[in-house]
Each structure stands twice: as structure tokens, then as C-alpha cells.
């Protein structure tokens, strides 16, 4: 099935999904996905970028490596200072999470594969006839423990930073809430 056909099929599927009750515009990104519909399973492939010219905030799919969802922030024309601060805080928090988890997960999967290969090679040398293709969870647990211990400090730092940012963002969100409340009250009194 060509990519073009796939996209067509995928569009058809979304037309049918709209009928089921999914209303919003759907932007597809990367990867392919088997979706079970009433007509059977369909394979879709359609890379699609983040939406442009948004009228409000949009939230995207989780990043492939960091699992952090991208957010496309809407910047209003007459953005007040508190709103701007709030948006910037969220933006920087998102970048912070993305950077940390990309790096962290990359390290995890690279080291995991390396560990697996080394273990398998050792096993093979001990017992050349056996066909061992994967390690048992028991053997893998050694790696999990090692990785968790090695990253302890890293996580503690990240944790502290995240808690700090989280509460700052909460405070900021509250300020924005108060600001919007007061401005709407002002409008209504005028």
C-alpha cells in the first residue's frame, strides 16, 4: 500500500470517526498505527506537523523519546504581563522536561541494549549450542537496579527543580486567574 493510499484511507477513517463522535480537527504525526474500525483494521501513516496559527493552546502527542507532550502556545495580541509570565514559565518547563527525559530515556535504552548484548554474548560463550535470544526479567533486573542507582542524584536534582517550577506555575496560574477575574469584573461594571 502506497503512502498516498494510506493517507487517503486514514482520512476516510477520520471521516468515519467524526460520525462516531470525535469532532475536532485531528493532526496526525509520525509513525504508523493500526486502528481497528468496524470495517476491519486499517494501517495509517501520515506525518503531520504541529498546527499553525492556533487560536488557543494545542496539545500534541507524546514525544517519541521523551514521552512529553508538546504544547503549541497561543499568544494573544494584547497579552498582559501576568499571562506572558505564565506562558513563558510553562514553555520553559516543557522544554526542561523534554530535555531531561530525552537525554534520560536515550541513556536508558542505549545502556539497556548494551547490557543485553553483553549478557547474551557472555551466555553464548558459556553455552554455544543454546539459542538464547533474550534475557529473563531476572537477569534484566540487575541492569534496572544499576541504572536507578546511577541516576539517583540526577533524579533528585530534577525532582527539586520540577517541584519548584510546578509550584511557581501554580502561583502564576492563580495570578492569571485573578487577573482575568478582575478584568471581567471591570468590564461588567463599565
Amino acid at each position: 500500500m502506497s503512502a498516498c493510499m494510506r493517507i487517503q484511507k486514514c482520512q476516510q477513517m477520520f471521516v468515519s470517526l467524526e460520525g462516531v463522535g470525535i469532532r475536532r480537527e485531528i493532526h496526525l504525526t509520525y509513525s504508523r498505527l493500526k486502528v481497528k474500525t468496524k470495517k476491519g483494521s486499517t494501517e495509517i501513516t501520515s506525518p503531520s506537523p504541529a498546527p499553525q496559527n492556533v487560536k488557543c493552546d494545542w496539545i500534541g502527542p507524546p514525544d517519541k523519546l521523551s514521552n512529553i507532550r508538546q504544547i503549541k502556545f497561543f499568544v494573544p495580541e494584547c497579552e498582559s504581563l501576568v499571562e506572558k509570565q505564565f506562558r513563558e514559565k510553562r514553555q520553559s518547563a516543557q522544554e526542561f522536561h523534554h530535555a531531561f527525559w530525552s537525554e534520560h530515556n536515550k541513556e536508558f535504552f542505549t545502556l539497556k541494549e548494551k547490557f543485553t548484548q553483553e549478557k547474551l554474548a557472555e551466555k553464548k560463550l558459556e553455552n554455544p549450542d543454546a539459542t538464547v535470544k533474550s534475557l529473563t526479567p531476572e537477569e534484566m533486573s540487575e541492569f534496572y537496579k544499576q541504572f536507578l542507582d546511577d541516576n539517583r542524584k540526577n533524579h533528585m536534582q530534577y525532582n527539586r527543580e520540577w517541584y519548584k517550577q510546578n509550584f511557581q506555575m501554580l502561583l502564576s496560574a492563580f495570578k492569571v486567574f485573578l487577573y482575568r477575574l478582575s478584568s471581567s469584573v471591570r468590564k461588567s461594571t463599565k
Partner: protein, 495 residues
């Protein structure tokens, strides 16, 4: 498109010192896996060449290789599958301009096998398994391998995903719904608020907590008052909702990292963090007010203590210390005690025994659950016993399951139940101990899953049996006099 000369890939093995010990020919483009093949060659040759294949070999190009060894390799040409572990750094080898792109297509591979140039590949450091015959939509990365003595390059298009093999324990690699691939407006869908709130308060967990509270109330010896019972249930449920909402507020990026938690409302952006906190503040204060004025202050104090313990101690502690399971067990032990105090207004030995039973139950329950989540906890940075001290994890589960038998047998001694409970809870507890023993002995995913599932049935059954076997007829004054007598005797013994 096709290359003029016959093909061969030679792999050379290096000793750990980097000195070439043995030169072996890679016979063709056909091998089940580079790794297996290398090892087989080692055994054929009778000498062990390298111990850590994965870290030692590296793909490189040998320009000085002579082509005399090629004839023997031609037999296995024409096979399509090639698995090559290619190191991350190979793409830095681009030097020449003449290239051939190998897409992994069957016919093209055949022609490649027939016509390709000889080239030598050394594996020096490898980290990934690649199957170029597999057609994948992943980002294709091309590798150029210069051909010795010919000043040519063979360009291989591998199934290669930026050097990392991500498995399905990474949520984004484990796409389950369309919504995991789509962009969505951040807008509050008011019609779905009840669903979001249920998700935010982890409704099933809250349900379990409330059931234990109800059982605590039911087992307590004082007369049953419907109003107090309902208010106690409601208050506890609201407090639990609040605790879970705060927990989710604090764990958004960590929840994103696990398949089990990736669909939580805050992770998916259905609710804003401030919305969640407002929900938690409202439910929490409402719950505590109900407990204070509708039930009694002691129950409210226990509820507030538990709320604080869960959100301020347990939640951060998961990422700092292995002791979190024990703290979490205390959190689980308090709700039935709240049920008891709601009924009697005081903490008695029965309440503590009830708490102890729930405390002990947490270990087989949680340890078995966390056993299969070790990859997630390791990557997510949760310091769980199952990851850091697997032996301790299994031992503790077994210990508390066996202890459960003793605790239930002790129930008649503190007048919590009659002796019928001690007898009819025995099969349940013995089966729990048996499953925990299996888990301790085998320590595989199957035994842990069985244990976890059984704990889910075990605790409601035990609560029902406890209410059925409840001891009636001991009224308040009598109990207090018995208690004070016991205290006196203990004091006398001490003095």
C-alpha cells in the same frame, strides 16, 4: 545501479586488547544474526576471541584487505536477510561520492549479492540490531561503506532509528489509541467533567479505600448508626479524592513515562494543573469538615494525617527512598481505623489490629504489582524495593502474608471477632501465603501476577468474613473496664 564485482562481507574479530588475534571471513550476506554468527565462528575456530562483543567490535573499513579469500564465500549468496549491528558512529565514515543505495528490497538485495563489491567490515562497537530487509517507515539512516581497492562506496540503508532501540515500555513507542498521535485543542470539555474528576481521584483506588473504611465501621462494636456511617463514608471518599488529585498534580512528568499512567487527565492535558489543585482543595476541605462535624474530630484528625502522609511524605518519598512502601502501607492501614473511630470515637486494640491487617496486606499487594513494573520504575526514577532489593521485596511479601494468618488468628483475642472468623479466614490466608511462597520461590512475572490478583479478591472477602464473624454484645463500658484492667495488669507487670 548494480555493482560490477562480486560481494563479500568480511568480519574480523579483535581481541580485547585491540590486537588482532584471529581473522575470520564472514562467509556471505546471509546470517541469522551477526552476533550468533560471530560466536559460531569463534567456536569453529576453537578459540574464544572476545568476551564483550557488544562493546568491543566496531564497524570500520579495511582498505588493505586482499580479495583472495572471496571464492569460498560465494555459496550463500542470494539470501535476503541481513542483520547487522551497526554502531552509532558509522555515519561519520562518509568520505566518497560514488554511492549505492540499498533499500532492502528483495530483488535489489539479490542483485547486490550477485554483483556487489567486496568490502570488509569490522565490528568494533555495536549497540543495535538492524534488519535491512524489513521494510519500515522509520527514519532511514544510510551508511556508507567504502570498498577496498576500488575507491567506491556501498551505501546501506538500514532500518535504524537514531541509534536507539526503544521498546514498548516507553509509552510513546506503545501507541494504543488515535489520541496518542493527534493534536488537540486545550479546551475544557465540560460534559466530560465527571469522568475527568473520577480519573483525577483514581476512582477505583478510592473505592477500595472506602470499602475498607466501611468495613472498619461495620466491624466496630458500637451500634450501627446509618447517618454517621454515610457521613464517614462520604468524608473518607472526598479526602481520598483530594489526596489522589494532589498526587497526580505532583507527578505529571513521571506519569508521562509509564504505560500504566500515561492516560491520566493531567498528562493528557484535559484538565489544567490549577483545576486539579482546586478540585483537591475543595474535596479535601469538604471531606475533613464532614468528618469533623458529621462524625467526630478524631476521625477527621486521622483523615488529615493520612492526607498529609500520602501527599507530602509518600509521594515525594517514592523518588528518594526505598522506605516508601512501608510509609505507603501505613497510608493504607489508616482508612479502616477511621471507620472504627467513626463508630466508637476512640482507638482501641481492635482498630489497631484492623490497621495491622491492612498494613500487612499492602506488601503482597504492592510488591507483586511492582514486580512487573521494574523497567518502568527504573527508567522513571522510582526507588522501589522491587528494583533495588528484589530479594527483600519477595521476602517482605512472604513475611507479611504469613503474618496475616497470625493476625487473623489473633482477632478473637482482642474481641474484634468471634472464633468463627479465625477459622473461616484461614483458607483465604493460607492461600495467600501459598501464593506469596510461590512468588518468593519463583519470582517470575506469572507468580507475581497471580499473587497480585488474589490480593484484590482477598481483602474484600476478608472484610466480609470479619463483619459476618463480628463479636456482638460487648458494650462500651464493659470494653473500657476490660481495657483499664489490662492496662493495670501490664503496669503491674512492668513495675
Amino acid at each position: 545501479m548494480s555493482l560490477p564485482v562480486k560481494a563479500c562481507v568480511l568480519f574480523r574479530c579483535y581481541a580485547q586488547s585491540g590486537r588482532r588475534l584471529q581473522k575470520r571471513r564472514w562467509s556471505s550476506l546471509c546470517w541469522s544474526s551477526a552476533w550468533t554468527r560471530t560466536c559460531r565462528q569463534n567456536t569453529d575456530g576453537g578459540s574464544v576471541i572476545f568476551r564483550h562483543y557488544a562493546s568491543r567490535p566496531k564497524v570500520a573499513v579495511d582498505a588493505n584487505d586482499n580479495s583472495s579469500k572471496l571464492e569460498t564465500t560465494s555459496k550463500k549468496r542470494g539470501t535476503q536477510t541481513i542483520y547487522v549491528r551497526v554502531p552509532n558512529g558509522i555515519d561519520q565514515l562518509k568520505q566518497h561520492n560514488k554511492t549505492k543505495s540499498l533499500t532492502g528490497d528483495k530483488s535489489e538485495l539479490n542483485s547486490f549479492a550477485r554483483n556487489a563489491q567486496e568490502f570488509t567490515v569490522y565490528l568494533k562497537q555495536s549497540s543495535i540490531t538492524l534488519n535491512i530487509n524489513k521494510k519500515v517507515d522509520k527514519k532511514e539512516k544510510e551508511y556508507e561503506v567504502p570498498i577496498p581497492n576500488q575507491d567506491k562506496i556501498v551505501k546501506l540503508s538500514f532500518d535504524h532509528d537514531s541509534g536507539i532501540k526503544i521498546d514498548s515500555t516507553n509509552p510513546a513507542a506503545n501507541v494504543e489509541t488515535v489520541s496518542e498521535l493527534t493534536w488537540r485543542e486545550v479546551k475544557l470539555d465540560v460534559s466530560k467533567l465527571p469522568q475527568y474528576y473520577m480519573n483525577l481521584s483514581k476512582i477505583r483506588l478510592t473505592g477500595l479505600v472506602v470499602i475498607t473504611t466501611m468495613a472498619g465501621y461495620g466491624v466496630a462494636p458500637d451500634p450501627f448508626i446509618l447517618q454517621t456511617f454515610l457521613l464517614c463514608t462520604l468524608g473518607t471518599a472526598l479526602t481520598s479524592c483530594s489526596a489522589n488529585a494532589i498526587n497526580q498534580f505532583l507527578e505529571v512528568p513521571f506519569d508521562s513515562q509509564m504505560n500504566r499512567t500515561k492516560n491520566r487527565v493531567l498528562v493528557r492535558g484535559y484538565l489544567s494543573p490549577m483545576h486539579a489543585v482546586s478540585f483537591a482543595v475543595i474535596t479535601g476541605s469538604l471531606g475533613l469538615v464532614i468528618l469533623t462535624y458529621g462524625v467526630n474530630p478524631l476521625t477527621a484528625v486521622l483523615g488529615a494525617f493520612n492526607l498529609g502522609l500520602y501527599t507530602l511524605v509518600y509521594t515525594p518519598m517514592k523518588r528518594y527512598s526505598i522506605l516508601n512502601t512501608w510509609v505507603g502501607s501505613i497510608v493504607g492501614a489508616i482508612p479502616p481505623m477511621m471507620g472504627w473511630t467513626a463508630c466508637t470515637g476512640m482507638l482501641e486494640p481492635g482498630a489497631f489490629l484492623l490497621g495491622a491487617i491492612l498494613y500487612s496486606w499492602q506488601f503482597p499487594h504492592f510488591n507483586a504489582l511492582s514486580w512487573n513494573l521494574r523497567p518502568d520504575y527504573s527508567r522513571g526514577g522510582y526507588r522501589m524495593t522491587s528494583v533495588l532489593r528484589p530479594d527483600l521485596c519477595k521476602r517482605v511479601a512472604l513475611r507479611h502474608s504469613v503474618g496475616m494468618v497470625g493476625l487473623c488468628l489473633a482477632a478473637p483475642l482482642v474481641d474484634l471477632t468471634t472464633w468463627t472468623f479465625a477459622v473461616d479466614s484461614l483458607p483465604l490466608n493460607l492461600y495467600l501465603a501459598y501464593l506469596a511462597w510461590n512468588f518468593y520461590r519463583k519470582g517470575d512475572s506469572n507468580s507475581s501476577r497471580k499473587l497480585f490478583r488474589f490480593t484484590l479478591i482477598h481483602i474484600p472477602m476478608l472484610m466480609i468474613l470479619m463483619i459476618v464473624g463480628k463479636k456482638f454484645g460487648v458494650d462500651r463500658e464493659e470494653r473500657q473496664s476490660i481495657l483499664s484492667k489490662k492496662w493495670k495488669s501490664i503496669k503491674e507487670m512492668v513495675s
